[in-house]
Amino acid sequence: MKFLSHVRNKWFCVLMGSFLVAYIIVPLAGLYLRVDIQVAMKTLKDMEVLSAMWRSVWTAAMATGVIFIFGTPLAYFLARNEFRGKSFLEAVIDVPIMVPHTVAGIAVLMIFSPKAFLGSLLIRIGLEPINSSLGIVMACIFVSIPFYVDSARDAFSAVSPRIEKVSRLLGASMGYTFFRISLPLARRGIFSGLIMSWARAVSEFGAVVIIAYHPMVAPTLIYDRFATFGLKYSTPIAVQLITLCLFMFILLRLLASGKDLGFRGEETNDLP
């Protein structure tokens, strides 16, 4: 009876889960099946498409790089400190997940428009934030921050503070301890956060289109081709973007998986 019940529960979970998995796979597969091969072949050689694809990849990478540099100390600070207003700060970090991305774009535009202080400052030093790759990077940073910071914070929280304390007592400085102990132990969560952050940035449309319709990134170009020529000419680019993202995702996940240390903070107590 127990076995039957176990099997029943398992199949119930599989059945319910399959619905959601199918909900993702079926529309995406539909895209691949509906692609006009001739148009797709032309698109592959279309310099505008290739340029938009490449711009999507590198602006997302730039945004992720900036988030990594500024977000890692923030994530570590949040993981290691309790203070009044921490929940509020964490909620603020998560705001980009909640707000519509067009709103995020407008918010970023307000700061970096030529009339705003920061925007005018950038223009004065020769950087153009609106309708430029710089603007795309800025919009991507805004929407991708929580994906990295949340993941890195959780990863640092799982590293036992005692391990860091022992490192200090053995003579290591705070910096050495961070780079030799904390960072390697949190690396899976950090890598996962970077992947998520990059994925969010590469697929961003709403915020980007407000700040920089031109130069076009892949999602903007897909929208542009759809509005101008219709579904037939936008689908091949969509398929290309999905293929590229899938390839990058699988590659990065493989790189990130590495060797599982199985370490979860204080759980060492329960070891044999």
Binding site: L170, G262, P272
Partner: protein, 343 residues
């Protein structure tokens, strides 16, 4: 000598209050107390890992209160070992050597062979047993030749076999001249390892002294209870006699000046017998009824009611079987005057 001079730590909901302590070089110093007494906090303060509110920490004639942990040359081994899980045993043990001025490789080799971890060098901590992890943690802590080794309940997470093994290693290490401060909540470990002991409860040092002194003559009922003096009776003193509030009278080994206090008797100092004792010759003799007999591992705890008072006594299993003692039986208790402690 390591001295704590009025060390205080104020935390929300807990205070470590004005601790004064001297730990001599080569001493095996034990800090005991129940959970939540502030023992780990005290160790971390000595190590520089916990910000202190008031007071000073001195090593010899040097004030190290504001020295960062990496400059103190103090090692700490935690109860959960805190090994670096992404490094091999060898990398763990040699981790601190790069920061150490004198990289005494032969000494590290000696430690590795003393703690018998030479065959584990390429393994990761998570593949080791608890005892092996503890030995690696000890080797890593000692490899940097610390002036002081702090041990935070190093035996509590181990099963009995490993516990005895690590106790033996600690004795060996101490015999090589290492100053050790060990935190525990088990007074049995204090008796088998320690030279001096400090009893900490609720952030206050209740008593500091030689292990035998604290064991035999606890300073107050709280310490008495902690060191296993399970029979405590509030009483009034007149000359060399003590009368409990429940009407029992005890003859003491000397006269007491104060009018009232507590009597403390260790369970192992109470003799149970069916023989009729003459109280004038045999000390304090009472007759009572056995209330319960509970196994406590190698000994049995026998609770005897005398009037409204309850006495806890320990008997070896063999003695209990030989005697054939059972619950509700009437039994005589004998307590020698010198085994009764006035607190």
């Amino acid at each position: 000598m390591i001295s704590l001079k009025g060390l205080s730590i104020d935390l929300p909901g807990f205070c470590l209050e004005s601790l004064y302590l001297d730990i001599r070089v080569n001493e095996f110093f034990m800090i005991v107390g129940p959970s939540g007494a502030g023992k780990t906090l005290m160790l971390e303060a000595i190590a520089g890992l916990q910000e202190i509110s008031r007071g000073e920490i001195w090593v010899g004639d040097r004030n190290i209160t504001f020295l960062p942990p990496e400059k103190r040359n103090i090692s700490l081994v935690y109860q959960d070992y805190a090994l670096f899980p992404h490094l091999t045993v060898e990398e763990n043990v040699s981790y601190g050597l790069r920061f150490s001025k004198e990289q005494d490789r032969p000494y590290v080799k000696h430690l590795i062979s003393l703690l018998k971890i030479q065959d584990l060098s390429d393994r990761r901590p998570l593949t080791l047993s608890g005892g092996e992890q503890q030995r690696v943690a000890l080797a890593r802590a000692l490899a940097v030749k610390p002036r002081l080794l702090l041990l935070d309940e190093p035996l509590s997470a181990l099963d009995p076999v490993f516990r005895e093994e690590i106790q033996d290693y600690l004795k060996k290490l101490h015999s090589e001249g290492i100053t050790i401060v060990m935190v525990t909540h088990d007074f049995g470990e204090v008796l088998s390892l320690g030279e001096k002991v400090a009893v900490l409860k609720d952030g206050i040092l209740r008593q500091v002294g030689d292990v035998s002194e604290v064991f035999r003559c606890p300073a107050d009922p709280l310490v008495a209870d902690f060191v296993g003096m399970k029979n405590l009776f509030p009483c009034d003193f007149v000359d060399n006699r003590a009368k409990t509030s429940e009407g029992l009278e005890f003859c003491l080994n000397g006269n007491l000046v104060r009018p009232s206090g507590f009597l403390g008797i260790r369970p192992e100092d109470i003799t149970l017998s069916r023989e009729i004792y003459s109280s004038s010759e045999e000390g304090n003799v009472f007759t009572g009824q056995v209330v319960s007999i509970i196994s406590r591992g190698t000994v049995f705890e026998v609770v005897v009611r005398v009037g409204n008072s309850r006495f806890v006594s320990y008997m070896l299993a063999s003695s209990l079987v030989e005697m054939g003692l059972h619950v509700d039986e009437e039994i005589n208790l004998r307590i020698k005057s010198e085994m009764i402690h006035a607190l």
